[in-house]
């Protein structure tokens, strides 16, 4: 005779009911983003609009201060309280992918059939999140740099950015000499141009790009190998060293280039994106954009490296939350026009380039033309550690005046050790 324990069956049924969401209850996704003040009001609007159109999904959006965001993200993942969807830069995407943290883009949920259709929908910004034919994020901001001239300082030196902007790095030396003003001790009080020495990330975005222009590649993403002891790296390093030491046109001892430009102490800066316009206006600077110079003998027509921010889904989130996250990500990332007009953030969604606000400013084509030729910085695990190693080698050569061959040889060995861990 089969004994039916009704009490036990009822208990299990009650527990099961409490543990699973009731049919019709919305799925709540945790979304984490970094703070970008012009974008905050738009974020709230987009969340409200999405929830209204998708009543089966609740979006729990948390914004973190910029300086803390990546750390909070890592701590969240470590504690198991990480978000279902997060908006992070292309810099750590290699590390996140290596740790199998990222879910591939759910093409069906996003509303496309294949990667080509995804690229057609979101533009070339997808490239920074694509590995071996699989995309791991949807772009919400795609950024590259152009050079910007302080028109007043250029005019004081008798130059016109529209006509005299340097097309090559060699020409930049001459232009910078004319723009630089010095005190009685020959110390520059206004620099004509200077590299951004302030953070190792710029070694990737600018130094690495100058190596690319010469046909060099410092990191092989697929093979995870490093090549820092090359003719191209040596050429760029010698140029940076000469800039600081031989020509005394700048150097790491001075105010960081972006701050100096906004303070009117630097006539030309080349690490602002189109998002810099608001800052120039606030600083009262009349400006002109022009493309990043190339090398006279360079073999690759590319400017500084591009970077992007992507909506990425946590691969450890439950399937229903991953699906909901991709729906929100697709909705958010497709709001290119709003992101451009209300937050000043450029994405490669095709409709953005047809906006009147976009076409009315001729300098926007500088950025999109450059973006077509740009590459992303190496998307590898150990990205930050490699950047620190590269900055350290630069300092050894430029500041300590150590032998470049020795320093670059040791850099390559160190980079190989870092990459060898993965």
């Amino acid at each position: 005779m089969i004994r039916i324990d009704l009490k036990r069956i009822c208990s299990v049924a009650v527990i099961a009911m409490l543990a699973t969401p009731a049919l019709g209850e919305p799925v709540t996704i945790a979304v984490w983003m970094h703070e970008h003040p012009p974008r905050l009001a738009l974020d709230e609007k987009l969340v409200a609009a999405f929830e209204q159109a998708n009543p089966d999904i609740n979006v729990d959006l948390t914004i973190f201060p910029n300086a803390q965001f990546e750390q909070r993200l890592q701590i969240g993942f470590a504690s198991g309280d990480g978000p279902d969807l997060f908006n992070s830069g292309s810099f750590n995407i290699g590390q996140y992918r290596h740790s199998r943290l990222l879910a591939p883009v759910d093409l069906k949920t996003v509303g496309v059939d294949d990667l080509n259709e995804l690229k057609a929908k979101f533009g070339i910004g997808i490239a920074g999140a694509e590995f071996d034919g699989v995309a791991y994020g949807l772009p919400t901001e795609v950024s590259n740099y152009a050079c910007v001239a302080n028109n007043a300082l250029w005019r004081t030196a008798g130059l016109n950015p529209a006509k005299d902007a340097p097309a090559t790095w060699e020409e930049m030396v001459e232009v910078a000499r004319k723009l630089t003003r010095r005190d009685d001790g020959n110390v520059p009080v206004v620099r004509g141009f200077d590299f951004n020495w302030s953070d190792p990330i710029f070694m990737w975005l600018t130094f690495n790009a100058m190596v690319n222009q010469l046909g060099g590649t410092v990191i092989d993403e697929a093979a995870l190998t490093a090549d820092f002891d090359s003719v191209q790296v040596r050429t760029v390093m010698d140029f940076w060293s000469a800039w600081a030491n031989d020509w005394a046109l700048g150097g790491p001892q001075y105010t960081a280039s972006r701050d100096a430009f906004l303070a009117g102490e630097l006539a030309t800066e080349c690490t602002f994106g189109s998002w810099g316009r608001d800052q120039f206006k606030a600083a009262g600077i009349d400006y002109t954009f022009f493309p990043v110079p190339r090398w006279r003998e360079g073999t690759v027509d590319t400017g500084f490296n591009a970077y992007a921010y992507y909506m990425m889904v946590n691969a450890n989130a439950p399937p229903e939350r991953q699906e909901a996250a991709w729906r929100f990500a697709a909705f958010y990332a497709s709001q290119g026009e709003a992101l451009f007009e209300e937050a000043g953030l450029f994405t490669t969604v095709p409709a953005v380039q047809e906006l009147e606000s976009y076409t009315s400013d001729g300098s926007n084509t500088i950025f999109t033309d450059e973006l077509d030729k740009a590459v992303f910085s190496p998307r590898v695990p150990g990205f930050n550690e490699l950047g620190d190693a590269l900055a350290r080698a630069r300092d050894r050569i430029v500041i300590n005046h150590e032998d470049a061959s020795a320093a670059l040889g040791e850099l390559e060995a160190e980079a190989s050790t870092i990459l060898g861990r993965f």
């Binding site: 890592q74 993942f77 740790s99 001790g185 953070d199 930050n384 500041i399 300590n400």
Partner: protein
């Protein structure tokens, strides 16, 4: 009045002790009252320390679960160039942030131990560097130490230069870190010395004077021996503080520890390992080693302090 006296006055024998049940009762109430503090300490100190020690034996990138690797992190650290550089930088900083601080703070305290006009005003002025948070001090000094800034403007003419690379020269930047640290710490420790000096009986110093001892003899033979506990305290605290060097190097140096790792301290390296390089296992191991070094050095100082 001794408890025995009280009991005797109450007509009870000194052998009358509280009943065992009353002792246990009081013990449990005592434990209950200290329980919140103990729990707080256990959760926010003991557990993190223990978990950190566990993580030091794992490969852990924060993104995937920790994997046990035994002593791999410890052996790896001693082959890691950055770790060896950080140890050297930290030891140099410890030397510069302890010996001069110990000597100069004592000298300052001895000056302020005497009466002179407007002593309290001068004392307040000298103590003011201690008041702002260290990060504020770092930001202000970073501005003052601009290559063409105020400090260069004062010092430069002596050497006939208009630019001095205070923070981007590997030698100068190390010196600057020590000087700024000592500038904030000397007033703080001088206050501790002053408190110690207040405990030295004046009679002994007067007796020495009457016996014909010189000021130097009085200081070395009377005052300093009596200041031994204070001396040990100052040495221990300044050493612990120096080993944990982080804020100045983080805020003031290029690339957080530059140039070319000239100011990379163990504290900075632990941050980089854990949150920039995704090497939390190594960060934990380096933290354990730093803790062990501080513990050993402090224990040695305290042991030496107890020797006659």
């Amino acid at each position: 009045m001794a408890m025995n006296d009280v009991r005797q006055m109450a007509g009870r024998s000194v052998t009358d002790l509280p009943a065992p049940s009353l002792t246990r009762h009081r013990k449990w109430w005592g434990l209950l009252f200290v329980a919140p503090a103990v729990l707080f300490f256990a959760v926010f100190a003991i557990f993190p320390i223990g978990f950190g020690v566990y993580l030091s034996f794992t490969r852990y990138d924060l993104l995937t679960p920790p994997q046990w690797i035994g002593l791999g992190n410890y052996t790896g650290l001693f082959r890691d160039r950055a770790f060896l550089v950080a140890i050297g930088n930290t030891m140099l900083f410890v030397f510069g942030a302890t010996v001069p601080v110990w000597v100069l703070s004592l000298w300052l305290a001895l000056r302020f131990d005497r009466c002179f006009a407007s002593r309290n005003i001068w004392k307040s002025l000298f103590f003011s560097p201690v008041l702002p948070p260290l990060v504020v001090v770092a930001v202000i000094w970073k501005v003052l130490l601009h290559p063409n800034g105020l400090v260069t403007g004062l010092v430069g003419p002596i050497f006939g230069v208009t630019e001095i690379r205070w923070l981007t020269d590997p030698v100068l930047s190390r010196l600057v870190m020590i000087v700024v640290n000592d500038w904030t710490m000397i007033p703080f420790f001088s206050m501790i010395w002053l408190a110690g000096l207040a405990g030295v009986p004046d009679d002994l110093r007067r007796a020495g004077e009457l016996d014909g001892a010189s000021d130097k003899q009085i200081f070395f033979l009377i005052t300093l021996p009596l200041l031994k506990p204070t001396a040990v305290l100052v040495a221990a605290l300044s050493t612990i503080n120096a080993f944990q060097a982080f804020v100045l190097q983080y805020e003031m140096t290029p690339d957080r520890g530059g140039p070319a790792d000239a100011n990379l301290t163990l504290g900075l390296l632990i941050l980089k390992y854990g949150f920039q390089y995704f090497r939390m296992g190594e960060a934990a191991a380096a933290s354990v080693l730093l803790f062990a070094v501080i513990l050993l050095v402090t224990a040695a100082q305290l042991w030496l302090g107890r020797q006659k």
